[in-house]
Every structure is written in structure tokens, then in C-alpha cells.
């Protein structure tokens, strides 16, 4: 087991390093943005003195590297700092948004992952059947439509015409779990349509790829039924690519849902990020970017670990 722990530790260290580099790049990026928060907040009416006073107040007059180091120091101590725009604690500001984003990702994942894997396995099982072709065309179409278009169509059908679901996900912390789920269904469904195709196709491809392996032929020649061959012989070996594609899509569900947030007025992290970039609220951009990057790195890390766990060569060395 120790070698696995070492591998995990190595990846973790690499992840932290990546995170550091990401924070640096984001910081520099925000530094390069034209204008700063004082201008964004004070507007054209700002006199040079007020801008200077404001910048002093926000410690923006310090050289960039000092600000970065101070910020990094805070992070290490678990302090994300305050929003420059409204002086709120970023942890508090982001906490709710992160929760919402994760909730949406969770609901979408709960719907889409079993669906995608199931469809993918069935498609591999009944390769080239009518079912396979139908699913293929359907999923292809669903990724071919732009996300916002899918969202609008869903709204038109389910909210405007049928009236089953609300057209905006006006969720708040006072809502009960099922009420939250109810209000999250529409964005989750949109995301599901977007990610299912990718995952399903990869599952199908990964399994079909293995069907040419000699051990699958061997299993066939042992007289095993097709379903058992797929589930017991192909699937375990296809897990690594499947895990990878699932993780990529999970990352997408967390990081890439801004459009869905906009259309369904879902208060997630993406919207927070866009707002923060607009106002040049550097600490918020930094913190949000870091959370996104961390999510990505963490997910990749878990994909790596899971791949190791499902690979007997690594799990049981000679």
C-alpha cells in the first residue's frame, strides 16, 4: 500500500504546486486588467485625491508582490480576506455560492452519471442495434445544441407550457431540501443533457475498445453470456477511462455552468466570479478562481487515485 500512498502524496504535492501557480497567474491577470476597483466603484466622478485615498484604504498602493505575499499568507492561515467591493468576508460570500454550485453539480451528477453509464453499457452491449443508433443520434444532438438553447427550450416546455417547474431557480437558504431539489431540477436537467452524451459515448467507446482484447475473446470462448462479458470482463478494465471522463464532466458541472446560472438565475460561483472580474474585486476573483482550480485538481487527483485503485498492476505489484 505504501507505494500507493507515496503516489497519492506526490500527486497531492504536485496539485498544491499547480494551485500556487494558478493563483499567481490569476493574480497577474487581474493586475493587468485595465482600471482597478477604485475606478470601478468611484466611477467618472472620482477625483484623483479620492482615488488615492481609496487605494490607500484598500492597500492597493502597495507594490503587487507585497499584496500577493500578504494574500498568500492569509490563504495559508485559512483567511481568504475581504471583498474590496463590499467589505464582506469572502469565506461567507463564497460559502453560500459554493454550496449552491455543489448542490447543482450534485443533483446533475446524480441524474447524469448513472444514466450515462447505463446508456453507455447498454449501447456497447447492443452495439449497432437500432437502440444503439437511436441513443447515439439523440446524445449527439443534445451536445450539438448550444447550452443556452437547450435551457430555453426546457423552460419553454416545462415552465411556460406545462408549468411543472419554475423557470428560475430562486433558491435561498430557508428552503427545505426537496423544495431546493425541485427548484434545481431545470438547471440540473439542462446540464444533464449537456454532459450525458459525452460520458455515455466515452463509456461505450471504452468498452467497445476492449471488446477486441484477447481476454474478451477468451471469455466468449468460455461460453459466458454477453452481458456478463461486458459487466465483468470489459467494464473493470474500462474503468480508468470512464472515471476520467466522469471526472472531466464533474469538473465541468462545477466550473463551467455560468450560462446555466445566467439563464436560470441560479446563484452559483460562476456568477460571483463574473461580477468580481467586472468590479476588479481581486480577492474575490482570486478566491473563486482558486476554488475552481482546486476543484479541478482535486477531481483529477481523485480520478488518478481511483484509476490506481482499479488497476491491479498498481494495486498488487509483483
Amino acid at each position: 500500500m505504501t507505494h500507493i500512498l507515496i503516489m497519492v502524496a506526490q500527486r497531492l504535492a504536485l496539485g498544491l504546486l499547480t494551485l500556487f501557480a494558478v493563483s499567481l497567474i490569476i493574480f497577474l491577470g487581474v493586475e493587468l486588467l485595465p482600471g482597478d476597483i477604485t475606478q470601478a466603484i468611484l466611477g467618472q466622478g472620482a477625483t484623483p485625491e479620492t482615488v488615492a485615498a481609496f487605494r490607500r484604504e484598500l492597500k492597493l498602493d502597495l507594490p503587487p508582490h507585497e499584496r500577493y505575499i500578504a494574500w498568500l499568507g492569509g490563504i495559508v492561515q485559512g483567511d481568504l480576506g475581504q471583498s474590496l467591493a463590499n467589505k464582506r468576508e469572502i469565506t461567507e460570500l463564497m460559502g453560500v455560492r459554493l454550496q449552491n454550485t455543489l448542490f447543482l453539480a450534485f443533483i446533475a451528477a446524480v441524474i447524469s452519471i448513472p444514466l450515462a453509464l447505463g446508456l453507455g453499457i447498454l449501447a456497447a452491449l447492443y452495439r449497432n442495434s437500432l437502440y444503439d443508433r437511436a441513443v447515439n443520434v439523440f446524445t449527439l444532438s443534445s451536445i450539438s445544441f448550444p447550452e443556452f438553447f437547450v435551457a430555453y427550450i426546457l423552460i419553454l416546455v416545462f415552465a411556460v407550457h406545462l408549468g411543472w417547474f419554475p423557470s428560475i431557480s430562486n433558491i435561498g437558504h430557508e428552503l427545505g431540501f426537496w423544495e431546493r431539489v425541485y427548484r434545481t431540477i431545470m438547471p440540473a436537467l439542462t446540464l444533464t443533457l449537456v454532459v450525458v452524451a459525452h460520458m455515455m459515448r466515452m463509456t461505450r467507446a471504452a468498452i467497445i475498445n476492449l471488446l477486441a482484447s484477447p481476454y474478451i475473446e477468451m471469455a466468449t470462448l468460455k461460453g459466458l453470456p454477453r452481458s456478463r462479458i461486458i459487466v465483468r470482463h470489459a467494464l473493470p478494465n474500462a474503468l480508468a477511462p470512464i472515471i476520467n471522463v466522469v471526472v472531466i464532466n464533474l469538473a465541468y458541472l462545477i466550473v463551467g455552468v455560468v450560462i446555466v446560472e445566467v439563464v436560470f438565475v441560479y446563484p452559483g460561483l460562476g456568477q460571483l466570479l463574473i461580477d468580481a472580474v467586472r468590479t476588479r474585486d481581486i480577492p474575490v476573483v482570486q478566491a473563486t478562481g482558486l476554488v475552481f482550480a482546486a476543484a479541478y485538481i482535486l477531481l483529477n487527483l481523485s480520478a488518478d487515485v481511483l484509476s490506481i485503485m482499479t488497476n491491479p498492476r498498481l494495486l498488487h505489484p509483483r
Binding site: L14, L17, T18, L19, A21, V22, I25, I26, G29, V30, L32, L33, P34, R127, N128, N136, V137, L140, S141, I143, S144, F145, P146, E147, F148, F149, Y152, I153, I155, L156, V160, A205, I208, N209, L211, A212, V255, G256, V258, I259, V262, G270, L273, I274, V277, V285, T288, G289, F292, A293, Y296, I297
Partner: protein, 276 residues
Amino acid sequence: MRDALSLLRKSPWSARFGLFIVFAYVFMAVFGPLLTPYGESEIVGFEYEPWGPEFLLGTDNLGRDMLTRLIYGARNTIGIAFITTVLAFLIGCVAGFLAAVLGGWTEQAISRFNDILMAIPQLIFALLILTIVGTSVPVLVVVIAVLDSTRVYRLARAVAMNIVVMDYVEVARLRGEGLWWIMRSEVLPNALPPLVAEFGLRFCFVFLLLSALSFLGLGIQPPTADWGSMVRDNATLITFGDFTPILPAASIALLTIGVNFIVDWLLHKTSGLKDG
């Protein structure tokens, strides 16, 4: 040429359909100005005129001919998506091949840098750069290409890794061939099939990303016709059951489906797996 024709004869209906779609679009994109009755942003009538003999698909919110805009949209959107994808592949493939051929520290350095780029959410990246430099077509192309090249890099490196262990690459190394030769003459031609398939897919993604950016107001800017912003401009109409915004979205979808059909076929051909 004969090979291509015989290949085509043996292709399944889906691939032929895809090829037909793609050729039709390319034809439209190339010969757009000759096909359209009006200019790209020429105001020819009143706003939202219905479908009719004068304006086959009606007019848009400014009274421009919808059909004309659609055709120009094909030209602009496909053109930009194509250039972007080519650039992304150029960057991704060169980096990926370099990493695979050189190995060692070079590979580590490029791969780690790629990891970092991938860890930064695409959206932040696009947002930051488009805000810093301003939204113009060249910037858009470069930004999306760089973002996309990280994905291309992964594939290119993986594919090239399988090629550089081949004996013929070793032969070239033993002969004393330079890096460039190995990348261009030994690796590239053999990496082409999966890369071409990926090209199709990435082209679609770029295409969708462009429309997504347009939707967020960061994409191709008006009055240039592009399908993404055409959808957005008219999105509220969907609520009222109007067809207009569906046309460009359907155009996007149709092309994506067409390309994917071809990709599926290519992948099927190159995977060596014969369906029994």
C-alpha cells in the same frame, strides 16, 4: 483521389450525410456573397417581417434579411471556428510532439504547464484576457485556441507517445535526424487519423464555445453575423414560440451532428475494430 472515392462508396449513410452537410456548409461559407440577395448588415426591410418571397426567412430585429445573415453567419462562425481550431492544433500538436519526442524534463515542463493552464477555469481565462485585450476577432481566435490547445496537447502527446516508441522513429534517431524531421515526417503523418477525428470534435466544441461566449456578450461582435449572437439577440422570442432563434441554433446543431457523424466514421475506421 480514387482512394477517396472508393472510401466514400463504402461509407455508411451517416458519414455520407455528415459529408453532405459539411460540404454544403463549406460551399455556403465560401460562396456566401454570391448566394445572398443582400449585404451582410444591409437593412432591407422592416423589423421582423414574416417569411415570404422577398425575404425567404423573414427579417431580423433590425430589418436585415434573415437568410442573408444565416449564410454570412455560416461564413463567419465556421471560418473563425476553423481558424481557431487549426491554431489550437498547431500549438497543441507542436507542444505534444515535442514533449513526446524529447521526453524527460522537456516533457515534464510542458505537461506541468499544461496542467496549470487546464486548472484555470476556461471561463476566467477567457474573461480575463478578453477584458484585458478587448474583444476582437484575432484576440478571440488566439484566446480560444490557447485554451483549446491544452486539450489537443493531451491527445497529441498521448498519440505521439505511442508513435515515438515505434522502431521507425528509432531508425530515424539512429540515422541522426533532427527533431523537426522526426516530428514532421515520422510522427505527424502517423498521428493524423486520431488527430483528424479530434479535430472534428474540437471544431464543434470551439463552435459551441464561440456561441456561448457570444451569449455572454464576449464573442464575435455585431454587426458581423454569427449564429451564437443571432440566437441570443432573439432568445426572448423563444418564449413566445417564434421560430427565428431556432434557425441559427438548428444550423449550429446540424453542422455539429454532421461533423460528429464523420468523426464517428473516421474513428471507427482507424480504431481497427470491426463490428461483427
